[in-house]
């Protein structure tokens, strides 16, 4: 594929709002996960709640969109100069030449969960409930597109936990066929009862902060977050962007709705396709940010795929011990973390992993290691067997 420049980005996780707070926590390996005190949830698990979401205000003209997911989106848009960069891109290209490709898994279903609690005696939803602007999966892109007064193509990808990696592919295709000149990609997912009680029903919630690749790993830690990236065609030196998107690889497991293929066949295919789309050999990859949810099945399946593609020679880690698993926002958050690792020249180590699982053979970074990666991969896999790998590299 034709490389795309990462013109600007922003991320909000339970580690903090913005790059500086996230980098500090990543470097110090300080987890943002804490015992769950979200809403009325009574589950014995840790979550990554973003601080300050309740204080965010949405513009008055878009007040029907107000809800936790949109507030989290707004926080992301206001962070790290992203807003300014999008406005500048709109000036540069025109409002109709900027595409919006965003991702979420549960969107604002929390607002519907709360509205169901507030039903009247006849079972009707409360009058202040706005389905289209809060719950509907498209509400995120609708809000962002209206917020920036854009007039180009827009869509939300909702392919579970691979969603916000896959949007890079949608954007790359749209730019390649000339539907737009720049693309705002990203993802937002917010804590809600559906995911917390849902993952609990599957028996995959860890009690303590999740421990990717640990022999005693006992499940995932749910979190929330937002990430946005502004993409344009890479031109030599023109944008000043230091990181380029070099490849995207997508595949499907065709195995099971909620369990990954045990041999990692789909994951392997996604990684190989990302390499093929960039025409880059696996031995040139300096670091892989794993999906690494810390569920028993994900980590063993992903390890098998890593071994098949890279062998044991490529350093890798999961940053979900720090950020938690932000589901539909995980892909873009980890793509941004991977881009930061390239820009700042470090290999992010995982956290919470005490005893590495001897059955897993990839070169998992339990402790920090010196290194200045130039090309790195970020993996995202999800329910329904959705797989996506992104390849990012320092601009030549």
């Amino acid at each position: 594929m034709q490389p795309l420049a990462l013109i600007a980005s922003s991320l909000v996780t339970c580690l903090g709002a913005g790059r500086a707070e996230n980098v500090a926590a990543l470097r110090a390996r300080r987890t943002g996960l804490a015992p769950c005190a979200f809403e009325t949830v009574t589950l014995d698990t840790c979550v990554g709640e973003v601080r300050g979401v309740d204080q965010v205000r949405v513009a008055d003209r878009l007040r029907h969109f107000d809800g936790r997911n949109i507030r989290l989106a707004q926080l992301g848009l206001e962070t790290d100069g992203l807003w300014r960069a999008v406005v500048a891109a709109r000036e540069r290209h025109g409002a109709d030449r900027i595409g919006v490709f965003l991702a979420t898994s549960t969107s604002g279903i929390l607002e519907t969960e709360l509205a169901y609690r507030g039903r009247d005696a006849a079972g009707r939803l409360p009058p202040g409930f706005h389905y289209r602007e809060t719950h509907n999966t498209y509400s995120l892109a609708d809000y962002v597109r209206r917020g920036f007064e854009l007039a180009g193509p827009a869509v939300v990808v909702s392919a579970a936990c691979a969603s916000s990696a896959k949007v890079f592919g949608n954007a790359a295709r749209a730019i390649a066929v000339g539907l737009c000149d720049a693309a705002l990609v990203g993802g937002v997912d917010s804590l809600c009862l559906t995911t917390l009680y849902g993952f609990h029903s599957l028996g995959v919630l860890a009690r303590r902060p999740c421990r990717p690749f640990d022999a005693g790993r006992d499940g995932i830690s749910i979190s929330e977050g937002a990430g946005f990236v502004l993409l344009e065609k890479a031109r030599h030196g023109a944008s000043g962007a230091r990181v380029h998107l070099l490849g995207v690889g997508e595949s499907s497991d065709a195995h099971h709705m909620s369990t990954p293929h045990p041999d990692g066949a789909g994951a392997r295919m996604a990684m190989q396709r990302a390499l093929a789309s960039a025409q880059i050999a696996p031995d040139r990859i300096d670091y892989v940010n794993l999906h690494g949810t810390a569920s028993r099945s994900n980590d063993s399946s992903e390890d098998a795929a890593m071994m098949a593609v890279f062998g044991a020679a490529t350093p890798c880690s999961s940053t979900k011990g720090l950020t938690g698993h932000a589901l539909g926002a995980a892909g873009v958050i980890e793509a941004i973390i991977t881009a930061i690792a390239l820009e700042d020249g470090f290999l992010p180590a995982g956290a919470n992993t005490l005893a590495r699982d001897p059955a897993l053979r990839a070169d998992y970074l339990v402790e920090p290691r010196a290194g200045t990666p130039r090309i790195a991969m970020s993996n995202s896999f999800g329910f329904g067997g959705a797989n996506c790998s992104l390849l990012l590299g320092l601009a030549p």
Binding site: R145, P153, G198, G384
Partner: protein
């Protein structure tokens, strides 16, 4: 964006498959709005079949019809699924449980709650490991899916199956999001002409809106279900004449689809 159309599937009230619906869609037979039900796909293992709700059954059924019409092996196709809101019955059941004193969700309810549930079941049913994406653009979901499928064909030079589907919400969600009927549509699109090609398709985004002239009864369906915004295209294909149709997209925008039939779409 240019592609070659190879297969069509459709299910909706009074529309029981592409072959059975062509004369109604072409306007040579009157349209009757008759409720339609969809059986679970026998492509799925029995245990998986029991877990599927209406939206998954609908998506799989129209996808299968389009594949069979095209003669393509389903596992060879990339897929684009698009829906204005996913499985409303399942969302309702989950929200009811979570509003009750005992928040015991069933694992099946939960894994069916993802917007890409049909894509997941499609993979299990067909063994397709090709890329799959699942989209939502509210009322513009069909047009957004068509754009993505056309872009996929243009860039990846691979055939793709597009599946758009919507099902009505139960109350109380129905009162805030009325969808009048189930409707599913599917197309197999390919990058080059083959002996399976039915028509050429050229798709572009336009900053204008125009209203389609649909046979009586179908206009209300087109308005009442986001996936049925595909009806102007389906009707033009059923007439098997060269045509340009306009499909609703985002506010103040439309998608123009130009078709050129190659042979009768039997």
């Amino acid at each position: 964006m240019h592609a070659w159309l190879e297969g069509i599937g459709v299910i909706g009230p009074g529309l029981k498959g592409w072959r059975a619906s062509q004369s109604v869609l072409a306007g040579t037979q009157p349209y009757f709005h008759e409720p339609v039900s969809v059986a679970a796909s026998d492509w799925l293992p029995p245990a998986e079949r029991r877990r599927t709700g209406t939206s998954v059954r609908l998506a799989l059924a129209v996808g299968r019809e389009a594949c069979e019409h095209s003669g393509r092996v389903p596992r060879s196709l990339a897929t684009v699924f698009t829906s204005s809101g996913g499985d409303g019955d399942n969302q309702h059941a989950i929200c009811e449980t979570l509003a009750s004193d005992v928040r015991d969700l069933s694992p099946t309810r939960f894994h069916n709650s993802v917007h890409n549930a049909p894509a997941g079941y499609w993979g299990v049913a067909t063994g397709a490991m090709e890329s799959s994406t699942t989209l939502c653009a509210y009322d513009a979901s069909f047009a957004a899916g068509l754009i993505e499928a056309m872009a996929w064909v243009a860039v990846e030079r691979q055939p793709v199956l597009l599946v758009a589907y919507d099902t009505p919400y139960p109350e109380p969600l129905r009162s805030v999001r009325p969808i009048v009927a189930i409707f599913g549509v599917a197309f197999v699109l390919a990058p080059a002409r083959t002996d399976r090609s039915i028509a050429t398709l050229d798709v572009d985004v336009r900053p204008t809106v125009s209203k389609a002239d649909l046979p009586e009864g179908l206009a209300a369906l087109c308005e009442g279900v986001p996936a049925a915004r595909s009806l102007p295209l389906l009707c033009a294909l059923a007439r098997a004449l060269a045509a340009e149709v306009s499909i609703d997209y985002l506010d103040g925008m439309s998608v123009s689809a130009v078709i050129e039939p190659l042979r009768p779409t039997d």
